[in-house]
Every structure is written in C-alpha cells, then in structure tokens.
Subunit: 359 residues, 2 copies
C-alpha cells in the first residue's frame, strides 16, 4: 500500500506514516470519536490541542441526521464540521445491527427502522459506500456483519462469509478516488475463521484492514490471542486497525502485536463519568478523598487542565454537576492518551518499546 | 470613591474605570455568572476570549458546596477557579430567599435548610460578609432582603428597612481591606421607597451601589422609570450596578440611564436553549429553517464560532443534543454582548452613544 510507509519495527510493534488526502498520520495512532460530527464537549481547537491527528465519524448516524443533503451543501463532512485534518468514517455496521435499529439481517443488507420518521429502510454495502463517498472522509470502512459475542460457530461462519461478500460489493461500489477503503475481518475468536476472513479480504484487495467484532465481551486474553495468531497473515505493508479499543492496557498490548490504528469512545465517555487517566493508574475524581486535594490530576501531565486546575476544583465541578468537569476530564484523557501514543511511536523508532513500560 | 474614575459622560451614559485589587475594569461592563465557580461549558481561556473583564460567583452557593475549607486551602476563590481577572461575589440573598431554601425570614437573618445535609442554618448579614471576606473576591455584595414582585407596600417597606439595617451590619462585619463592598437598594417600583433606601445607604457609605429587586416580573417600563427617577440621587463618583440584567435591550437602556455594571445568567442560559444574539435580532438555531443555512450566526460577528461554523452545523448539534451546540452559542452570546459593551464604551467616550443604535 503506497500510502502507508513503515519507518521502524520493534519486535512486532510498528511505527509508520499513513498518508491521506488531508495529512500524514504518524502511526500507531488513536482516533477520538466524533460520531455525530463533533467530539463531545471539545471544540476542534481543543481536540487539536490534545495532539489528535485524525477523527472518526459515523456514516450511518450522519446519514440519518443531518442527512446527506446538508453535508453536500457544505462540500463534505470535513467542511461541515470544520475539521482540518484526516478523517475516517465508520460504515455504521455496528450501530445498524443493534436492536435499536435492526429489523432483519440478510445477505442483501440490514433492514432497519429510521427512528426519526419510523420508515423501514434497507442499509446495504452499496448504500454505505455511497454515503461515505459522498461524505468525503479520507478513509471509508466496508460494511461488515458483526455477530454478537458468544455467537455459535454457524453464525460466526455466516458472518465471515457475508462480510467477505459485502466487502466485494463495497469495493465495486467505491468511486471516490481520493478516499482510501479499509476492509474489516470477522470470525470471533476462532482462529481458522479469522484466517479465512483475512485471506479472502486480501484477495479482494484493500488499502487497510481492521479487526472487527472484538472487544465486545470476550476476555482480553482471547482477544489478544486471536489478534496475535492471525495478524501474521497480513502483509507488512498493510495498515492494521483494531476497532473499538481505547483503554491504555488494550492499546499498548495491541501495539505490541502489530496494530497501527485505533478508535474508541472510551477515553471521553469514561471522562464524562469522572474517570481520569494518570501515570499512576486511573482515578475517580468524584471520590471524597479528592475534596481538598490541591494536586493536579497527574503531575507528569502537561495538558492545560493539569497545569491549571486542582483535583479539588475538578471534584467540585463533578459534585455540582457543572459540565466543565466532564469537559476538562475529556480533554485531559485525550491529551494523556495522545501523549502516550507519541511516546510509544518514539520508543518504537528508538527500539525501546516495551509494553510493561506504559500500562 | 477613589477606585472609580469617570472618563466621559454622554447625556446620562457614563464611561469609566473601576479599579479592583486584580485589574482595571472598563465601565460600563457586563459580568457573566460563574455561580458555582465556573462559567457553564466554557473554560477560563474561552471566557477571556469573549472579552470578559470580570465574573460574578455566588457566595451562598459556594458556602454550601464545596464549603469554605476547600476554598481557603486554595487561598481564595480566584485561585480555586484559576480566574486571573476581577471577581465579584453576590451575597446569595436572592437564592437563600427562594422557596427552595428559605424556612423563615426575620430581622436576624434567613433561616434555611441546607439541601445537602438537611440541617437548619441561619444565614445572617455577618455570615454573608464573613464568607465573602474569606472567598477573597474583589467586590463583595451586602445581604439584602429581596421582596418578590407585586409585594404589598408594607412588605416593600419592611424590605427597605431591613436591607438598610443589614447593610449597616454588613459594613461593620466587613474586614477584608482589599475587597470593595457594594450595597443594594430596594423598594420595588415605588419611587419614595427607593429614594429612602438610597439616601440611607449613602449615609452608611459604600464603594458602590446596586439596584436590587428589579427585573423580577415587573414591566420593563416600570423598571426603567424607577431607575431613571432615582439614580439621580446617587453621587457621580459612585459606581451603579443593576443586578440580574443581561438582555441587549435592557443593557442598552440601563446604560442610557447611567448604570455602569451588570450581571446575568441570561446570555449563557438562553444560549443553552438555542437562542443566539445577532445584529439582526436573536435567532432560534433549532428552527427548521436553519437546517441547510451555510451562513454564520451573525456575519458581522468576529467570534471563533461565527468565523468557523455554519448555522446548519450548529442546528445539527442542537438537533442531535451534542453539548458543543450549547457551548458554541454560549461563547457567541458572551462575545457578542462583550463586543457590544466595548462599542458602547467607545461611543460614550466619543459622545455618540444613542440607545436606538444597538437594540
């Protein structure tokens, strides 16, 4: 893949550059979610301040609201949200398959009910790509069939086959030459199914490959074992994306296995619940012990929250339900995580990357 | 009052400087509320970006939570919230008298129930000043007795007398030499009562005087008539503060009557409800007509929201309940209002202030 350049490999961990139509992303990298075209509680300037290189939005959700007409009038999603850097869109397969939306799943696609007008609609691989082509993100994701955790072997097999078929249809439908197209492998934690999924998708040919249907309830050990056993099937030149992963430990261990790219709502969602990352482990800022604590969230962190506010003040904001509490922790968590990714990239290049160093 | 310097008077409108322990405030000025030591949804840096010179917090609310111990440990409220500019504290009289708190009002003070521990407590003028001395705001406000709108003449008279008595007790209790002390006149819309209130308070002697108990349900005409008829009783050297006023029209007309200082939650609260100020009147961003509107909130506004985002995008954020919608409108409304105050100050100095020019 000519858009992806590998600069260094330290054991299996990789440092490289992914070039998109709107920037060069240093890998491994983490994408905060801007599901509805906005990172919750943070302005673009603040998101940039955290060291974020790339965001990910949700094509299906944005198709429902505001709809494509509005975004086309803005000449694409990046303009609509005024994000100047790289942008992924997820197909929305994971969301449309949730019980909130899905009426019937078949080979043709997902029959779902639009919650805004009550109408039944069919979400197909072709439609998903048409939407993402039109949104004009830098990287589009294929629509995949994501079986729930603890699915039976027949269901996992069906999902693997359907996801391969849908990936073929996505590739055929993909018309936006400036947009990269990533596929998603499936197969639960069954090694043979993952391998089949990977080899079939490689045959079709994509700009990158994601591991899908993981981190949805299986044990971490099974997740890491599945990735470790099958990632070797991928050519070195292909960027590897682990979807839905955003805790420090999972990020670090996945990077050690050779993953280049991540997205997750976890750092910002957990922040809104009062959990702050720190170099001494995470802390729950609403806990009574922080009431009079003059220290910053993390004295080793250089983010504006840690340089400005005490734990006691942040505790007060949470106890009095001031939204700024959620905002400050969201900023800190993203900054902390992006700073960690930066250190990891440097360490991989220096040959000193060791998972136990960070988590 | 040596801390207040008058630079220009245009008809009755005044432009001056109020010097506090932490800055020189150009008057007339508007204070956004940071009731619980935080302007909702905006960081200090963002609040500074709106052109805000001074904030106002609520002593009573902060006394309840986080309590004085926490704030003392931070060496005062400005340090606790890390606000580097001037800061007022309101006594909290208006809040403690609300049915949410007040059990019994008497000459000694307000008996209230602490919502956090259920205990009955007496809030007195002395306690209010002790709290504000300890918070270390630049300007403290006397505790006043605020009768509800449409109170009877005996009740209004009682409130005037009690407020004078309490002001005397406040002045006696006031020990923080770096902190200015403002009194509050009462009297509803009854000219004779206001005049009595003002003359008695002037006799006691304060650094500034607020008009209290207005903008609480009476007609705007009655409010302006009351101010206009009684503000002439005040010496030119005394800063005049109209509490709780924050709509464009009210600000402009009050400045025309000689008011120097304002506070209100209105610009930020109305923003959270989707109302944006603009030079063509206010607009409700959630209205369907903005769905595909590529224009900024106000094309004459130079705030980062107007320079960055379309009405359609802001409409989308409100329709999808993304908190950033409320945040962006809060920023815009404060910027718009502070920019208006700046223009008004310049116009007063240039002798070209005309109320009908702005509202």
């Amino acid at each position: 893949m000519k858009q992806f350049k590998l600069h260094a490999v330290s054991k299996k961990a990789r440092a490289g550059t992914l070039k998109t139509a709107h920037g060069k992303i240093q890998t491994p990298f983490f994408m905060p979610v801007a599901t509805k075209a906005s990172v919750k509680l943070l302005s673009n300037e603040e998101v940039e301040g955290t060291g974020t290189q790339c965001l990910i939005s949700n094509a299906f959700i944005l198709y429902l609201k505001p709809g494509l007409e509005t975004i086309k009038k803005h000449k694409g999603l990046r303009n609509f949200m005024q994000w100047k850097h790289s942008l992924f869109t997820d197909s929305g397969g994971f969301q449309v398959l949730s019980p909130d939306f899905c009426l019937k799943l078949s080979n043709s696609g997902v029959l779902f009910r639009n919650p805004f007008d009550g109408k039944k609609m069919l979400f197909t691989p072709e439609l998903s790509i048409k939407i993402q082509n039109s949104l004009g993100s830098d990287v589009a994701m294929c629509l995949d069939d994501v079986p729930i955790h603890s699915s039976s072997l027949p269901r996992l097999t069906q999902a693997v086959n359907r996801t391969i078929d849908w990936a073929q249809r996505c590739k055929k439908a993909h018309k936006n030459k400036k947009q990269l197209l990533f596929c998603i492998n499936q197969g639960g934690t069954v090694r043979e199914l993952r391998e089949k999924s990977i080899s079939s998708l490689l045959e079709i040919g994509f700009d990158g490959m994601a591991f899908g249907g993981l981190c949805i309830g299986e044990t971490k050990e099974k997740m890491f074992r599945t990735i470790g056993a099958t990632i070797t099937e991928l050519p070195e030149s292909m960027p590897r994306y682990l979807m839905g992963v955003g805790s420090i430990r999972e990020l670090v261990e996945s990077i050690a296995l050779g993953i280049d790219c991540f997205d997750s709502c976890f750092p910002t969602r957990t922040a809104r619940h009062g959990k702050a990352f720190s170099s001494k482990g995470s802390l729950n800022i609403a806990a009574a012990k922080f009431k009079n604590d003059l220290k910053p969230l993390d004295k080793e962190c250089n983010c504006f929250v840690c340089k400005t506010h005490s734990r006691a003040y942040l505790h007060h904001l949470f106890k009095t339900k001031e939204e700024n509490g959620m905002k400050y922790l969201s900023y800190h968590n993203l900054f902390f995580l992006q700073n960690l990714m930066k250190k990891i990239r440097e360490d991989i290049k220096a040959g000193s990357f060791k998972p136990e160093k960070y988590a």
